[in-house]
Symmetry: C2
Subunit: 343 residues, 2 copies
């Protein structure tokens, strides 16, 4: 592997001069600059960023920790973060935790060992207050939490207003005539999931409707729980006429249950969901969805993080960026009055 030393020898200059033409920090005469350029060219020299990182004590790398990159919500978030990161010459080190907090702990240790300059983090659900996150913050690594904020920790975040979005969604469901509305929530350990439930409850309360306890089912944002709880809801003696499924993965499970029971949406039941993958318009049923700005969450998060890194200041009063979500009304929430058998 070619080094600056060899380049220097070939160009007949000192190693310092090579470094100066490389970084451009210190002026070097045009003549020598050219000699160095030629040597670099001929030797096929490629700078060693590892050595540079060690010297400069920064890596220009960001850790990106998400639940599962296979979930379109997160893959778009990663792309947004990548775009912003690359703009500032940062690289992304991406990890999936599958919402397992032990994985998250391991990953944070690895990332600290790698000396990433900052962390973009979608926290895993957990019962206790996540001390590993606090420790990482205390070690001097800035963190921006995306989509979810861990309880009781002062940390920057980029989220959407889940309560408002859920409320708007349920208001729409009410507006087309539904009164028997259920919800499949995410893990109650996640603020995101709790907020969506709150929005749901608020909308019902405003309509003077008391939700039936059995219609509030707690899932975990993964497909299987959508299937299981969907089945349960659909098989109950008096099933709701509409269900808000709190994310896309659970919606897939829910629709699977629907199909198995030979029920059809929206004929037999209306549904709406959070998240809105690109193919929503071309398949049936077309699902009414709260479209979250996943890409923007990633982008804004990376921008904020890089800003924090640059300013080097501790985050005594963290910034909480809230991005708007957009309700996309589609056929899955039909006008219930137009449907036979509806109350």
């Amino acid at each position: 592997m070619i080094t600056t030393k060899e380049v220097a020898k070939k160009a007949g200059v000192s190693i310092g001069t090579v470094s100066n033409v490389l970084t451009g920090n210190i002026r070097v005469s045009a003549q020598r600059k050219e000699r160095v350029r030629k040597a670099i060219q001929e030797l096929g020299y490629h700078p060693n960023d590892i050595a540079r990182c060690l010297k400069l004590n920064r890596t220009k790398m960001l850790g990106m920790v998400v639940t599962d990159i296979t979930n379109p919500f997160f893959s778009q978030m990663v792309r947004g973060a990548e775009e912003a990161a690359l703009k500032h010459d940062y690289l992304l080190l991406t990890f999936n935790t599958d919402d397992r907090v032990e994985r998250e702990k391991q990953v944070l240790l690895v990332l600290r060992a790698r000396r990433v300059d900052g962390l973009l983090l979608v926290v895993a659900p957990t019962a206790e207050s996540p001390s590993h996150i606090v420790e990482t913050l205390n070690s001097g690594t800035p963190i921006v939490c995306l989509d979810r904020v861990p309880p009781g920790i002062k940390v920057d975040s980029v989220t959407v207003d889940n309560a408002a979005a859920a409320r708007e969604c349920v208001k729409h469901i009410l507006s087309v005539g539904h009164k028997r509305i259920g919800i499949i929530t995410g893990s109650m350990q996640l603020q995101t999931a709790r907020e969506r439930l709150q929005g749901f409850e608020k909308a019902l309360k405003e309509a003077h409707i008391t939700p039936k306890a059995g219609w509030i089912q707690q899932g975990d944002f993964h497909t299987q729980s959508g299937y299981r709880l969907g089945r349960e809801l659909l098989l109950s003696t008096d099933r709701p006429s509409a269900v808000l499924v709190s994310n896309w993965l659970m919606m897939i499970g829910f629709l699977k249950a629907l199909g198995e029971l030979e029920l059809v949406c929206p004929r037999d039941i209306s549904v709406a969901t959070f998240d809105d993958p690109p193919m929503s318009d071309v398949f049936r049923p077309q699902i009414t969805a709260v479209a979250q700005p996943a890409y923007s969450i990633g982008y804004a998060g990376a921008e904020l993080l890089i800003q924090r890194i640059a300013s080097k200041r501790g985050t005594e009063n963290p910034l909480a960026i809230r991005l708007p979500a957009e309700l996309k009304i589609r056929e899955s929430t039909a006008d219930s009055t137009s449907i036979a058998g509806e109350m």
Copy 2:
């Protein structure tokens, strides 16, 4: 930031001893080992992998370059690669190129500067033989190409047998009675796309059918081309009764065109595609698809790459792993004889 030196001082041992207990390469007395552990604990020491990388001249990082992580095919591939990489203590540095070869060139330079130990690469389509890949190989960085192999380069690869899979798919379409079959291909600069076309043509030839020229449309594996060419096919005076769309993204575009023209699959036209995202079973129409083992491609690729890195041998005779694809027959390729108006 705590260093081994400080740990050594606190534990009252030499810096070498600390290093030895850290790496475990050289035996150290139980008593001193314990002293070191305690010091590490109390100081909150975290090893600096950057320095270790510089010293050991390897980074335990793999570059992963794909078209677009937002495409479920690639996100699954990344997860497979991540799984295999983590198993061997390697980290993944992931990049998207959006199939732009200039981006690919930039990314390879960055990755070389970062001294990644190896590269997992989904090449971008390009007219010329990609010299930047050869250069990277010559620089001593092992590369495993995934899904696509660049023309005229000796390099390891993990792919599926696209020709066989396409042929099987078209044979199925023929078997349900279709004779007027079209195809929307990917970029002809990609071997993957060419193979799928070849399989298509072979199946037709075996059935003694000469494909109509206008029914072979060249796309680029992106949604927009599926839409545009789909529209073209569907609006032509004698449109095919079935179309093989060469990947999932173009299928989404195709279905959009279908919907706009108020045509229904499979009533008006049958379709099949490559790639099979998780939600295929719950939405209508359910698309007949060649399910590629995306996760396994990534996993096997990373395994092979790590093996190459370990053996340090040049790749004079590259390995070409072929993984099987599975045809999933669904309602989108209906029995044409049961459909009114079909010849």
